[in-house]
């Protein structure tokens, strides 16, 4: 009993000493008792932490306060009803909860030119334009497969496809798409772009809702790269850039 108490004490001391040592290593932590988060990015582990230099200030493109509106207007806090808006901690929790890419994806929805200058670790790149493709293209069907969405009914002929499209045009609502895609294994998606002034990920989200993607499986990181930069969080330049 006595030995067990000593052992427990040692374990507690060791844990608290480690935590203290980590907070000394990272004076600019992410949250209390959260100095950094290790995130899987492809085959690599990336340590997401904040810039430790307390005198650091944002420079360059993300220091700009003003861009022409429209199109760079301030977005509402919520992209659409039932789509949750999240912050940095929720994003880090999302990527570090170990659900894996077969269950969830963090999506950098910006166009290539933005993506290649730096992205949030753990993100995959799917530009918002890909979500606006025609549903009949192979690219769009490949994208749906990547998101865990499969066609509900295979089109048997050109005529049945044409009839489907005509009925869709006649009803002119999103319900025309009901039944086309099976979302039962759809992944949870968290999309982001450049920040509250950016409409790239909101457009992608709206396009997904348009085809019937369940809103409760969609998250929007509204702060985007703008807020990520403001907190000095780790940015990576993707491979092959």
């Amino acid at each position: 009993m006595k030995h067990a108490a000593i052992l427990l004490g040692l374990l507690f001391w060791s844990a608290s000493a480690q935590s203290q040592s980590q907070s000394l290593d990272y004076p600019v932590g992410i949250a209390p008792d959260l100095p950094y988060v290790d995130v899987s990015h492809g085959q690599q582990q990336i340590r997401v932490q904040r810039i430790q230099d307390e005198t650091h200030v944002i420079t360059g493109s993300y220091a700009r306060t003003s861009r022409h509106c429209p199109p760079f207007c301030i977005n509402p806090i919520q992209v659409a009803p039932d789509v949750k808006t999240v912050g940095e901690l929720e994003l880090l929790q999302f990527v570090s909860r170990g659900a894996g890419p077969e269950k969830q994806l963090l999506i950098d929805a910006r166009t290539q030119a933005w993506y290649e200058r730096g992205t949030i670790p753990g993100s995959i790149h799917i530009p918002f334009t890909a979500f606006l493709e025609s549903e009949d293209t192979q690219a769009f069907q490949g994208l749906m497969a990547q998101l865990g969405v499969i066609p509900r009914v295979a089109q048997t002929s050109w005529w049945s496809g044409l009839l489907d499209r005509l009925s869709g045009l006649m009803s002119r609502t999103a319900s025309a798409n009901e039944g086309r895609w099976d979302f039962s294994d759809a992944k949870e998606l968290m999309l982001w772009c450049n920040g509250p002034w950016c409409d790239q990920s909101p457009r992608a989200i709206r396009a997904l809702l348009d085809i019937g993607y369940p809103a409760e499986k969609l998250y929007s990181y509204r702060g985007g790269m703008q807020m990520w930069q403001l907190f000095g969080l780790t940015v990576i330049i993707p491979e092959n850039q």
């Binding site: 690599q44 493109s61 199109p71 979500f131 606006l132 045009l169 457009r203 000095g232 330049i237 092959n240």
Partner: protein, 139 residues
């Protein structure tokens, strides 16, 4: 605000309905879009043009790290390759003690002027392997 919201909110469905219409009957339009590689839609979408213009003057964030695809070691291991750059002598010694206590113990046993040389060396090259080598050679 309301006008803009309406515009952006209907963009995806508008694009889709344009494309649906092209599929269902306007073959020449579909052929034209195919032949021009879809450039027409990109060129006539003012939002795409605006974000591409913005991106053309974008710089890489100061803290962006380039990934080395050949290095698959965990970040926690890689993070021990370097000491934080640009520290003063006191911070350098404090970090050395905190993160690399073994190396620090040997460092502390050195004479003051040699320690200064080690510190000057660190200011030129902050790889811990190089700092360790310098300390070892100075014993």
């Amino acid at each position: 605000m309301v006008k803009h919201q309406n515009l952006t909110g209907t963009r995806a469905s508008t694009l889709r309905s344009i494309r649906r219409r092209s599929r269902t009957g306007v073959l020449p339009f579909a052929l034209f879009v195919t032949l021009t590689g879809g450039q027409l839609i990109a060129d006539t979408d003012p939002y795409l043009s605006a974000i591409e213009r913005e991106a053309s003057v974008l710089d890489t964030p100061a803290n962006a790290q380039r990934l080395d695809p050949t290095d698959t070691r965990p970040a926690s291991v890689r993070a021990r390759d370097f000491m934080t750059p640009g520290m003063g002598l006191e911070d350098f010694e404090a970090e050395l003690e905190r993160r690399f206590p073994g190396t620090s113990m040997i460092y502390k046993s050195l004479a003051g002027d040699i320690r200064l040389t080690i510190y000057e060396g660190y200011r030129q090259d902050n790889r811990i392997a190089v700092i360790r080598r310098q300390i070892a050679y100075s014993m």
